[in-house]
Symmetry: C2
Subunit: 186 residues, 2 copies
């Protein structure tokens, strides 16, 4: 019999297998994520997400694309058909923080029972409206509160808190990412 | 009779009304967006998005929360139940770019017929795995290609391309945003 140890819903042997494989061949860690986006009307738009490159090959496990819509609330001239883009950033950041904590906690054998986060971003819309060049369009600051339950002591609590340093989206939001935009006629 | 002019699916009088109101009272431009997030199991988690503050008050137009799920593909130990957090960043950026262009194009009377974007982000997973401290966890670079159709000349094409400078998510990704994280026992 072969016993599989699961911590936080993740197979510990798969985690260590991934770590070992990437350590032996760092090129396996190259990923490219992709999305296709289409403006529909007004503030309404749609993204499809399916293919990506990683672990040395094009992924073939997703049989259908994910569809993600964006809109704005009425005060921002939309019709509330979906969250807006800035709200999706909060989702992405929260999901990345908890996912990163859960993964590295499992790798350390720290069992979590629950993780909940609230997240807020403050923004001055003078920037996006183009009314004040001294106001940045994006968030001035983001605050996240994460509440954890599980079988961990105070030292492990501090270790869990430190795991957010590995979060891709925390890095993307906190630090500059070069964005190249090519705009042309279809 | 009262004629409403619509450009790109947006009411031009609402755009100018918003611009005028914020110019007269910049405090109306203060927004706070929010999300609540819950880890479910393994790589799977869920965000709900509903309330926000803006235009001097708590929004009351959303009668039900939006639900947005995240997961990972199998090579990242998930089950493909939803896009992952880094893919949501690409969605948020693409949606923000097209939304910002559409809004400011309408304000300038430039009629668009279509806007489509493809977006790619490159990432070295040694960072998120914690295997190499010199590798950032997030995207090393993001490339966006936007194709536009509509009734615009070459000067207006250049103007449309420049409108991405007003995009909140372009700013959030390109420039540092302070992120404060409080991690505690529930």
């Amino acid at each position: 019999m072969y016993a599989t140890t699961t911590v936080n819903g993740l197979h510990v042997d798969k985690i260590s297998g991934t770590m070992d494989a990437v350590t032996a061949n760092p090129a396996l860690a190259r990923f490219q994520f992709r999305a296709r986006h289409q403006w529909i009307d007004g503030s309404y738009s749609r993204t499809t997400i399916k293919d990506f490159y990683g672990v040395g090959q094009e992924d073939a496990t997703r049989t259908a694309p994910f569809t993600v819509d964006s809109d704005e609330p009425p005060v921002l001239l939309g019709e509330n058909r979906a969250p807006n883009a800035s709200e999706y950033v909060l989702h992405a950041l929260a999901a990345c923080l908890t996912g990163t904590i859960v993964f590295h906690a499992a790798a350390r054998g720290i069992a979590l029972e629950g993780l909940e986060a609230t997240i807020q971003g403050d923004l001055d819309a003078q920037g996006v409206l183009g009314l004040n060049d001294s106001v940045r369009p994006g968030y001035e600051q983001i605050r996240v509160t994460i509440k954890a339950t599980g079988d961990f002591d105070d030292n492990q609590l501090a270790e869990l808190a430190s795991l957010t340093r590995y979060s891709p989206v925390r890095d993307i939001v906190s630090n500059p990412v070069p964005v190249a935009i090519d705009f042309a006629r279809a």
